[in-house]
């Protein structure tokens, strides 16, 4: 902290506030057009869902024996996206990682909305959506309770816990920031921020409890985030179905989740940085480290693919081998190879430091990763069911317009909510940037950018 005297180095605390708060100024027309676009898509998706509820699941492309496909794929995909947020905000917080400060708020916001999106799909895919609450334990005259042995009930618990905790975590983190926003705001905004800020003044008493609570939340969120995607993976691993039943699923899905999540963070941050002029807060240093995480998780995922295939070969069970043969070379085989390309091959580029800080390339890679991870879930979920134990029941799945539009709607829903948040609440944590201002300063030094 030698260099903490404000007049010495830039950026100063107020520079940080300025750059962050600038983003929150009244948005322009284009922004509202974008928002309108997103929510129109959402409306269309909602329309298709309504139709599905009204006429029956038959309007989807689902069939014997593929009972789950795009909906559950989306569910897993979005839950996965959510994970990186908690990773960056909680796990890296515990590791006292220095580069997280600039990116964690955006990541956490993404988490919240991704979980909100993911949470829709278990409802959408239910045959009788209107009875979804039967999955929760609630007192009723017939003492009917959910079956706690069912992974879907674990899901219900895990995902709702995750939603609650990440929301609390996000809003706790927001408190000091909205407090400083409050000081700059007028009119309804001032009231809005004042409410969110809970009358925060940064007194030593507030900080003392705040830091402790935040630390513990991080400590709780860390195992939670791992458990959530493990539980999601167990939706499949618990089955005996070849291609689903595999012990490696839990860590493999967690890694995959972080992989896709961090990629999504990059996908969101790169344009944000450009559009809202955040170059002096989101430096190559940050992206360099995000890219490293992507690379690492990509390698873990590759390891999992490899182990899975190896073990299928090693175990020598013809049924499983056939399933994997179909996964590689069946009608949907091209998806498998696309997945390998996107998740295992393309990320290898990130071994090069120059690519890691070349934001354009990095952005494109991150999009490939997103595609790849969606594909992975689809290949695992729909593909494995198609080639089940019962050859007479083999059949392959084709999505219908309903699934396609609802999926599109979900993306719009996510982006729309995120965009709303980003312009009305601090999308980068001023407090933590100030706290770690030394690292930011160093990161902004030209020579680092070269070194990275």
């Amino acid at each position: 902290m030698a260099a903490a005297a404000p007049e010495i180095a830039a950026p100063t605390f107020s520079d940080v506030d300025r750059s962050v708060l600038r983003v929150m100024q009244a948005p322009g027309v284009l922004y509202w057009v974008w928002i309108a676009f997103c929510f129109t898509l959402v409306a269309i998706g909602a329309g298709f869902w309504t139709r599905q509820i009204y006429t029956g699941m038959g309007v989807t492309g689902l069939r014997q024996p593929v009972m789950w496909a795009v909906y559950i794929t989306n569910f897993v995909f979005w839950v996965g996206i959510a994970h990186s947020g908690t990773l960056i905000s909680a796990i890296l917080f515990l590791f006292r990682t220095r580069w997280r400060t600039a990116v964690y708020r955006a990541a956490e916001t993404m988490t919240l909305f991704a979980v909100l999106t993911a949470g829709l799909f278990p409802l959408i895919h239910l045959g009788r959506t209107w009875f979804f609450y039967w999955l929760l334990p609630y007192p009723n005259e017939r003492y009917l309770q959910p079956n706690f042995r069912s992974p879907l009930v674990w899901d219900a618990f895990a995902v709702s816990t995750y939603l609650t905790i990440s929301a609390l975590f996000l809003f706790m983190g927001l408190v000091p920031d909205v407090a400083s926003a409050r000081e700059q705001a007028h009119g309804w905004r001032r009231a809005f921020y004042a409410i969110l800020a809970l009358g925060w003044q940064g007194t030593d008493r507030q900080w003392r409890h705040y830091s402790m609570a935040y630390l513990l939340m991080a400590g709780l969120a860390t195992p939670l985030v791992i458990s959530v995607h493990s539980v999601v993976s167990w939706d499949f691993a618990m089955a005996q179905l070849p291609g689903w039943h595999s012990t490696i699923f839990a860590p493999y899905f967690v890694a995959g989740a972080i992989f896709s999540g961090v990629a999504m963070v990059i996908t969101l941050l790169v344009p944000m940085r450009k559009l809202w002029g955040l170059e002096d807060l989101l430096t190559p240093w940050h992206f360099d480290n995000l890219a490293k995480v992507v690379l690492l998780t990509s390698l873990v995922v590759t390891y999992s693919y490899a182990t899975e295939s190896f073990m299928v070969w090693y175990a020598g069970d013809p049924v499983e081998q056939m399933t994997f043969h179909m996964r590689y070379f069946g009608p949907w085989g091209w998806m498998f190879w696309m997945m390998v390309l996107c998740n295992c091959v393309i990320p290898l580029l990130l071994f090069s430091p120059r690519i890691r800080i070349n934001l354009a390339v990095l952005w494109i890679i991150s999009i490939f990763v997103n595609i790849g991870m969606w594909t992975e879930r689809f290949v695992i979920i729909a593909g494995s069911q198609s080639t089940n134990f019962e050859p007479s029941q083999w059949a392959f799945y084709r999505p219908s317009i309903t699934e396609i539009m609802i999926t599109a709607g979900s993306f719009a829903w996510f982006l729309g909510l995120f965009s709303l948040f980003a312009r009305f609440l601090p999308i980068i944590s001023m407090t933590e940037l100030k706290e770690g201002i030394t690292w930011l300063r160093q990161a902004l030094r030209k020579d680092y950018a070269k070194a990275a």
Binding site: R63, L126, G127, L135, D235, E390, P391, S392
Partner: protein
């Protein structure tokens, strides 16, 4: 029924009420229930009555028992008292209900105006018009009134003839498209009698079928399937354990062929020659039984032209194969040869073969007192049509048979009918023949009418109405009698007023004079038992040496032959309006809702047709187009097309579906030279089947009889090093229901599937939905073909019923988040529809893929909904369902037993599938009771039991007995 009227009064209400109750199911809104106005002593709400009657779906005339709930017949079951069906019933029989409740049945008499438009008229108008026309015709002279219809039993025939008599005519034509005439002609020629023999396959050791699909549609499939299962049961024969040896000689590997040891692919014309050649072999080898007293020289002369070598040269069937068949047949202690419908030459040969080997009277039995030939002979039919052509007929009354659909174009039935000024059509669903009629009269379904049957000597079936008419229809017999009386009031030509009276009168005649049995009691007993069943004496037959003339020289084989065959469910086409029969996959082709042209890959290559591509088939009689089904299960140079589809109008289920192969045929033949070329377009054949290759998975298993005899059962190695059980055992204190399925007995006839549809309110989804993988049957026939390398070391096809295995460690149960799927303390894998939220997770986890999801709320177009079983919920949209082992029947029996404070007896509980199975392949019982028939069946078949996908440790409650095949002595 004396109380008929009091019943009538409330039954209509009751029907509505019951239907309402059933339909309400688990839907959110329950229907309005109508209370009983007049309570009826015969009907206790919620308790089923059973009425014995007879099945009218095919000439076999099995006895059936109708299960009636609140005045609605909801299920047909076999009549155990009937010697033909012996309590079993085929898919077509089950589907009779859909004929009864068919939504497209004629709802009112209709008159065709000038613009060919039909207008509803009242019965009074209709009958008035009919009577006037008849009277006029009668005045016009002799034989100006004609009757053309399906055989309806002896009494019906009497009524028809009486009616015609009144109108001074004798033109009665009882028309069967698939006639037994050739067989009768053959019998006439050889034995001087015109009846059909009955067969005792179970008495035989060797069976050769020259194109007789006796497990599908030939003569009496239910009975023959039962006998065949018996025939194939491993028994000690000449010291060693063995199963019956069966050969099938014919152009296609259909269901029947698939269950035989060997399929000898012969062109349609060739079966007869091969049969003769087999005879030749036996003569040459002196395998002629002495006691057959046959005139050997004549016999020798008869078969002279058919030495194996030359026959082999003509038919392409290896001489060695022929000799092998001959040897087997000749040496067998009991053998039987069967020949296909419409193949007189082959039938002759088969009769001779049976006779000269002393099997006449043993495996092929002619009975004394055989009933007269029900169908009119082709010649007379032609004559009648000719008369119409020449305008000699003023009034034609068509009652069933649908001649327009199934008669050969050369007969030009249409033309004939057009020349008849007034054509009356009586029937249910208006068909092609109805289109020719001026006046359409809604007729009772057989299940609504009084009738009798006489399928064979000693068997007199009584058909009684089992419920009130669903539509404002009348029995044809009543219509005829009414007009007879109307037009001949004075003369008491006809003693009975109604068909009911006529039938009763007929039965009172049947009543034994001796023994002091009161005729009324006899009548009552007949109504209880569904007929009179007596043993008929077998009569000795002797080959008439004079008849042993050499068969006519076979026509030179065409280079491309069309072979049409009655489809197992649609028969001659009468099944096509029943959605169950459309939706149940044809067991071998596994295709639904369509007809197809089965063609060998080589032939397809020559014709340049691809799979699913429409082939245009052209004969001198007509043209049809059918999608190609390319398979090696048909002889090269033959195109096999199933009969029964291609209706132009026959209700919503049959109309404009598939192609009508009858249109290509000449009268009295099922094969004909054909010209074929790709039609350019294609239509994908729809099948619920994924792969035909079982990939060596333990879903179906087979072993050779030799292995079994050797006691070399496949070693059951442990699934893994013991101990591996992770869960505590659960006790099943009272019962643990289980099933044993003998896949060796199973013929794949799908009677179980139809029975399940009927019993469990399984909805029909239609062609498109099946294509989308939404077929809903709870039980299906798994059909796999052995891998190439296994040929000769496997059955020709694996066929086995696949239904919920009711696993002890069911993978579907624990994953259900709401306990909709869980295990009962009687070992059943229960599915609670009302609790199901539709996650479909259970189906993901079911290794057998036997669970079915309600993609849409089910539809039962009225009045098909009247057939719904009130004991079974109609599942709403969005819930999962599956086989329950007919839990409603289990409950029913348990409650009954508890009422008598005893345990349910073994055999008291029979699921619908087991009950229907003609081959008795399925047995159900309590696994806690080692003495139950089901468990004994397991115990008495050591080395044959296996559980499907056992390695998953799901511990199914169903044990399959391995299919048995014979290690081929290939040539």
């Amino acid at each position: 029924m004396s109380d008929a009227f009091s019943r009538r009064s409330f039954l209509k209400l009751a029907a509505a009420a019951g239907a309402g109750a059933a339909l309400a199911g688990c839907r959110p809104a329950a229907r309005k229930l109508i209370p009983y106005v007049v309570p009826d002593e015969n009907v206790i709400p919620g308790v089923a009555q059973f009425y014995a009657t007879t099945c009218a779906e095919c000439p076999a005339g099995c006895g059936v028992i109708a299960r009636v709930r609140e005045g609605r017949v909801v299920k047909l079951e076999g009549n155990p008292a009937d010697p033909v069906g012996q309590g079993a019933i085929c898919a077509r029989g089950q589907a009779a209900l859909q004929g009864l409740y068919n939504p497209d049945r004629l709802a009112s008499p209709q008159l065709r105006g000038d613009g060919a438009a039909l207008a509803n008229i009242s019965w009074e108008q209709a009958l008035k018009m009919l009577n006037e026309r008849l009277a006029a015709a009668a005045r016009g002279g002799k034989d100006r009134v004609a009757f053309l219809g399906a055989p309806g039993g002896p009494t019906f025939e009497k009524i028809v003839r009486a009616w015609l008599g009144v109108h001074d005519s004798t033109r009665a034509v009882f028309y069967e498209a698939l006639a037994t005439e050739p067989a009768r002609a053959a019998a006439q020629q050889l034995f001087g009698r015109r009846d059909l023999p009955v067969y005792r396959l179970d008495q035989a050791e060797v069976l050769i079928s020259f194109g007789a699909d006796f497990l599908e549609t030939w003569q009496s499939p239910v009975e023959l399937a039962r006998q065949y299962a018996e025939f194939r049961t491993p028994r000690r024969r000449r010291g060693s354990l063995d199963i019956g040896r069966a050969y099938y000689v014919g152009p296609r590997l259909g269901l029947t062929a698939a269950r035989c040891d060997e399929w000898i692919a012969a062109a349609p014309g060739a079966q007869a020659q091969i049969a003769w050649s087999v005879l030749h072999v036996m003569i040459a080898e002196r395998w002629i039984s002495q006691n057959s007293h046959v005139d050997l020289p004549a016999l020798t002369a008869m078969a002279a032209a058919h030495d194996p070598a030359s026959v082999s040269a003509r038919t392409g069937v290896p001489a060695e194969t022929i000799r092998r068949m001959g040897e087997a047949f000749g040496k067998a202690d009991g053998a039987v040869a069967l020949a296909g419908t419409h193949d007189e030459s082959a039938t002759l040969a088969a009769y001779v073969l049976n006779a000269v080997t002393g099997n006449a009277g043993r495996t092929m039995v002619f009975l004394d007192g055989a009933p007269p030939e029900p169908a009119t002979r082709a010649g007379e039919v032609e004559a009648a049509l000719g008369a119409m052509h020449d305008g000699k007929v003023d009034v034609l009354l068509i009652a069933g048979g649908n001649p327009i659909f199934s008669m050969s174009a050369t007969m030009d039935a249409a033309g004939a009918f057009q020349r008849v000024p007034f054509v009356v059509w009586c029937g249910g669903v208006p068909d092609e023949s109805a289109n020719m009629a001026n006046l359409l009269l809604p007729a009772h379904h057989p299940l609504e009418a009084w009738r009798d049957t006489a399928p064979r000597a000693g068997v007199n079936g009584l058909g009684q109405p089992v419920m009130q008419p669903v539509f404002p229809s009348r029995a044809v017999g009543d219509i005829l009698l009414a007009s007879a009386h109307a037009n001949a009031p004075a003369a008491a030509v006809v003693s009975w007023k109604t068909a009911a009276e006529a039938v009763k009168a007929a039965w009172l005649d049947l009543a034994p004079r001796a023994g002091g049995i009161d005729a009324e009691d006899f009548w009552t007993k007949a109504r209880e038992e569904g007929g009179r069943f007596q043993d008929a004496k077998a009569s000795a037959v002797k080959l008439d040496s004079a008849a042993l003339k050499a068969p006519p020289a076979p026509a030179p084989p065409a280079e491309l032959t069309l072979f049409a065959y009655p489809q197992i469910f649609l028969y001659d086409g009468r099944g096509a309006d029943k959605s169950w029969l459309q939706e149940i996959p044809e067991p071998i082709a596994q295709i639904v809702w369509d007809s197809w042209a089965e063609i060998h890959p080589d032939t397809a290559r020559q014709l340049r047709v691809a799979a699913d591509e429409l082939i245009e088939l052209r004969t001198e009689h007509g043209i049809i187009e059918a999608p190609a089904l390319i398979s090696e299960r048909v002889r090269p140079g033959v195109i096999a097309v199933p009969l029964g589809q291609g209706h132009r109008s026959f209700g919503r289920y049959a109309s404009d579906r598939g192609a009508n192969a009858w249109a290509l045929l000449a009268p009295g033949a099922l094969s004909i030279a054909v010209a074929a070329k790709p039609a350019g377009m294609s239509r994908a054949l729809v099948s619920p089947l994924g792969k035909s290759d079982v990939m060596g998975r333990s879903i179906v298993e087979a072993m050779s009889i030799e292995e079994l005899a050797r006691g070399a059962a496949p070693a059951a190695e442990p699934l893994a090093p013991e101990p591996y059980e992770m869960y505590p055992p659960f006790p099943y204190p009272e019962h643990k229901w289980g099933m044993t399925i003998d896949t060796n007995a199973c013929t794949g006839c799908s009677a179980c599937v139809a029975a399940c549809y009927a019993e469990n309110n399984v909805p029909v989804v239609g062609r498109e939905a099946v294509d989308q993988g939404r077929i809903r049957s709870w039980i299906r026939i798994e059909r796999f073909f052995p891998e190439k390398h296994k040929e000769g070391r496997a059955p020709l096809a694996y066929l086995t019923p696949m239904l919920c295995q009711q696993c002890n460690h069911a993978p579907c149960e624990p994953v259900c988040p709401v306990f909709a799927s869980h295990h009962t303390d009687e070992g059943l894998n229960a599915q609670i529809y009302n609790r199901c939220v539709g996650t479909r997770y259970c189906e993901n986890n079911c290794p057998y893929k036997v669970r079915r999801f309600n993609w849409f709320p089910p539809e039962f177009p009225a009045p098909l909904d009247l057939q719904l079983n009130p004991d079974v919920t109609v599942r709403s949209g969005g819930v999962m369902e599956k086989c329950t082992f007919c839990v409603q029947r289990i409950q029913h029996a348990e409650i009954a037993a508890r009422a008598e404070s005893r345990a349910p007896r073994d055999g008291e509980i029979v699921p619908a599938c087991a009950q229907a199975c003609p081959a008795r392949a399925i047995s159900f019982g309590d696994m806690n009771d080692a003495s139950s028939a089901m468990m004994r069946r397991r115990a008495t078949n050591p080395g044959r039991g296996f559980r499907a996908l056992e390695e998953l440790n799901t511990q199914p409650a169903i044990v399959y007995l391995r299919d048995l095949y014979r290690e081929k002595e290939r040539t």
